[in-house]
């Protein structure tokens, strides 16, 4: 009886694996519909979205949309300095992005 249950669970696992593989290839998002347009949005999508979420709603990193960025950094220059230097889990982008790109992405986060 117990062995039968284990067999059923293993078959179920195989089915789930098959579903995951199908979803990996079938569940493509609409191409172009959410493509970032402004330079700040492009920098955000390429460097920030994987932690802060595509829409800035948060992920492994905190939310920056909905006024969260301006609330934490009332002065934009403080946010620029934070992005350049990093802190804790937030990596330093001073060596990866140009000053102009950092300013663009900071301005972008303040519009989300």
């Amino acid at each position: 009886m117990f062995r039968r249950l284990v067999n059923i669970v293993e078959v179920l696992a195989l089915v789930v694996v098959a579903c995951v593989v199908v979803l990996l290839f079938a569940n493509e998002p609409d191409s172009g519909s959410t493509a970032p347009t402004t330079p700040g949005a492009q920098v955000f999508a390429a460097n920030c979205a994987r932690c802060h979420g595509a829409d800035g709603g948060g992920g492994t990193g905190p939310q920056v949309a909905g006024g969260a960025a301006t609330e934490r950094f009332p002065d934009a220059e403080d946010e620029v300095a934070f992005v350049i230097k990093g802190s804790g889990a937030m990596p330093s982008f001073g060596g990866q992005l140009s000053p102009a790109q950092i300013r663009q992405v900071v301005e972008y986060t303040r519009t989300l």
């Binding site: 062995r3 669970v9 179920l12 789930v16 990996l24 998002p29 992920g59 492994t60 889990a89």
Partner: protein, 193 residues
């Protein structure tokens, strides 16, 4: 390790071919995941959260639950191989329990891996992320080897414990580079659900 009824020289060749076959299949699975993660455009979406506050929280706690089950599975495996003596008399259902717990742990990893592959892909932005990406691919490769090795006859006796240990080690590495990192990079207090 000899296969019953076969000459030793021929047996060694058969065993070697079986082991190489397992490694090739496991390597192919790991490689395929890495290629998909690298070639697929990350969607950066967080498609599901169940009763958690977000997909990331779901992933952290699913991974933690999978690790917990994996620890139980290792203990059951140690008892199966008589490396521990608790309970003193191993019940007849121990092997089935070992399989069930391992399968449940594996099932818990699937929604985690799906979001990682589909939404984030294979990344190398820093050491932690690179190690996590590599371990993620390796885990399913080694897991495939483990599942197949259970069903292949005549393998050396150390194969299953070795591969099982590797599965557990990669899962621990995955957890350390993701869930633990997430939990320890939060402000102190009750972990986010």
């Amino acid at each position: 390790m000899a296969v019953a009824g076969a000459a030793p020289g021929r047996t060694d060749g058969v065993v070697a071919r079986r082991l190489i076959g397992l490694l090739v299949v496991g390597g192919a699975v790991a490689l395929a995941l890495g290629v998909y993660g690298k070639a697929h455009d990350p969607t950066l979406e967080q498609p599901y959260s169940l009763f958690f506050t977000g997909t990331i929280q779901l992933k952290v706690w699913f991974a933690t639950a999978a690790l917990g089950l994996a620890i139980v599975q290792v203990l059951l495996g140690l008892r199966l191989f008589d490396k521990i003596a608790v309970p003193r008399r191993a019940p007849g259902w121990l092997g089935d329990a070992h399989r069930l717990v391992g399968t449940l742990a594996f099932l818990l990893t699937l929604p985690v891996a799906y979001q990682c592959l589909w939404a984030l892909g294979f990344q190398s932005t820093d050491t932690r992320v690179l190690v996590h990406s590599l371990l993620g691919c390796a885990f399913y490769g080694v897991f495939t080897v483990k599942v197949l090795a259970v069903r292949v006859d005549g393998l050396p006796g150390a194969t299953l414990p070795l591969v099982g240990g590797l599965v557990f080690a990669t899962l621990v590495g995955l957890w350390l580079t993701s869930a633990l990192w997430f939990l320890t990079s939060r402000p102190p207090g009750i972990p986010a659900f």
